[in-house]
Amino acid sequence: MELHHSKHHQTYITNLNAALKKQAEAVHASDITTQVSLQQAIRFNAGGHINHSLFWQNLAPTSSSDAKLSAAPNLVKHIKTTWGDEDKFREAFKAALLGIQGSGWGWLVKTETGTEQRLSIVTTKDQDPPVGGEVPILGVDMWEHAYYLQYLNGKPAYVDNIWNVINWKTAEERYLGARADAFKVLKASI
C-alpha cells in the first residue's frame, strides 16, 4: 500500500502535471501538433490518478463497518437482481479480473439507459479510466504492482481477498449518486 500510494500514484500525478503544463503551453502557442501528441500521456497519467483515487476510496479495513455488505443495502439488492446472488456476482467479477491480458482494472459500473439503471462489470486496459458516461462503483487494480510483493503470481488469491477490504459504504454512495459525485475526490485533490 505504501509503495502503491506514495510511489506509483505519486508518479502518475507528477507526470500528469508535467504533461498538462506542456499542454497549456502548446494551447497558448496554438501548437496543435504538440497538443495532439500529448494526449496519450495525459490519458495514461490522468487515468492512473483517477483510477487510484477511486480505488483508495473504495477500500476499507476489514474491521470497519464500511467493509460489510450491510453498508450497501440498495446496491446489494440490485446486484442480486442482476446476478442472482452475491456469490455469482463475485464469480463473474473474478472471471473478468483474471481475464485481463496485461495490466488493467476491473470495475462494477452503473449505466443509465433512459429511466433504467443497469449494473455491469467492465474491464479497462492499462490506466484507461472509466469515463465513458458510466458511474464507477467499485474498482480493482489488476496491475502486478498492486499485489505482486504479497501474492507473487497467485493473483486469484489477491482477487479472493480483495472482497475482505471493499468499502461498501463508498460503493453504496456512488451507486445512489450521480456520475460527478463519484469523481468528487478528484476535485478535492486539485
Binding site: G102, K125, D126, E144, L152, N153
Partner: protein, 231 residues
C-alpha cells in the same frame, strides 16, 4: 552450454505450439486434437546465475510459474482451437484467437528472452560483434546510444509489454519497437533481442524503480544469441 542447441530447442517448442495438427481420430471421447504440445524450455543457466542484476527468486518464479502458465494455457487453448476447427466452428475459432495470441505470445517471448540473457561469466554483457555490431553502429551510432534509446522505449511502455530490437524482413534494417502485453514479434519484423517490461520481471528486486532494472539488464544481455538471430 552451446547456445545453438538451446536456440533450436526454444524455437522448436515455439514452432510446435503454433502448428497444431488437425484432429487425427474423430469420435474418440476425450481425443487429443493437438499432436505436438508446447513445453517449458530449460533455462540455459541456473536461476541465480544472473545475480545481482536479476535475482534467482525472480528468475525461478518467472520461469517456473509465469512461463509455465503461458505454456499450459497455450496447450489448453490450442486444443480448443483444434476442436473448433474440426467442427468448422468459425465463431469459436475467432473467439479463441486472442487467447492464442496472448498465451502463445507469452511462450514465444519468454523462450526468446531466456536465450538472449546470459550470466556475465558466460559472455553476458559482452558487446556484440560482426554483422550486428555494424548494424547497430549504422543505425544508432554506438551501442551506448542504442541502449539509451532502448531504455527510453522500455520506460515509455504504458502498462505491460516488451521492447525488442527487431530486423525488418523487407529492408534488413534494425530498429527498436515496443509491443503491448504478450504480443509477439511476428510478420514484417524478426525478433533480435527482447527485454520483458512486465512488472513481474523486476518488481521483487526493483519495486517501482524500473529504470534501475532497465539499466542493469544490459549486464546480462547475450549479444551472441541476438547476433545469431540476425539474417
Amino acid at each position: 552450454m552451446s547456445s545453438s542447441l538451446l536456440r533450436s530447442s526454444a524455437l522448436r517448442s515455439a514452432l510446435r505450439a503454433t502448428a497444431p495438427a488437425t484432429c487425427t481420430r474423430a469420435g474418440l471421447a476425450g481425443a487429443t486434437f493437438v499432436r505436438g504440445k508446447a513445453t517449458l524450455p530449460d533455462l540455459p543457466y541456473d536461476y541465480g546465475a544472473l545475480e545481482p542484476n536479476i535475482s534467482g527468486r525472480i528468475m525461478e518464479l518467472h520461469h517456473k510459474k509465469h512461463h509455465q502458465t503461458y505454456v499450459t494455457s497455450l496447450n489448453n487453448f490450442s486444443e480448443q482451437m483444434a476442436e473448433a476447427k474440426h467442427k468448422d466452428d468459425v465463431k469459436s475459432q475467432i473467439a479463441l484467437q486472442p487467447m492464442i495470441n496472448f498465451h502463445g505470445g507469452g511462450h514465444i517471448n519468454h523462450s526468446l528472452f531466456w536465450e538472449n540473457l546470459a550470466p556475465t561469466s558466460s559472455g553476458g554483457g559482452e558487446p556484440p560483434t560482426g554483422a550486428l555490431a555494424s548494424a547497430i553502429n549504422d543505425s544508432y551510432g554506438s551501442l551506448e546510444s542504442l541502449k539509451e534509446k532502448f531504455n527510453a522505449a522500455l520506460a515509455g511502455i504504458q502498462g505491460s509489454g516488451w521492447a525488442w530490437l527487431v530486423q525488418d524482413t523487407q529492408t534488413g534494417s534494425i530498429s527498436i519497437k515496443t509491443y503491448a502485453n504478450q504480443d509477439p514479434v511476428v510478420g514484417q519484423f524478426r525478433p533480435i533481442l527482447g527485454i520483458d517490461a512486465w512488472e513481474h520481471a523486476y518488481y521483487l528486486d526493483y519495486e517501482n524503480r524500473k529504470a534501475e532494472y532497465f539499466k542493469a539488464v544490459w549486464n546480462v544481455v547475450n549479444w551472441k544469441a541476438a547476433e545469431a538471430r540476425l539474417k
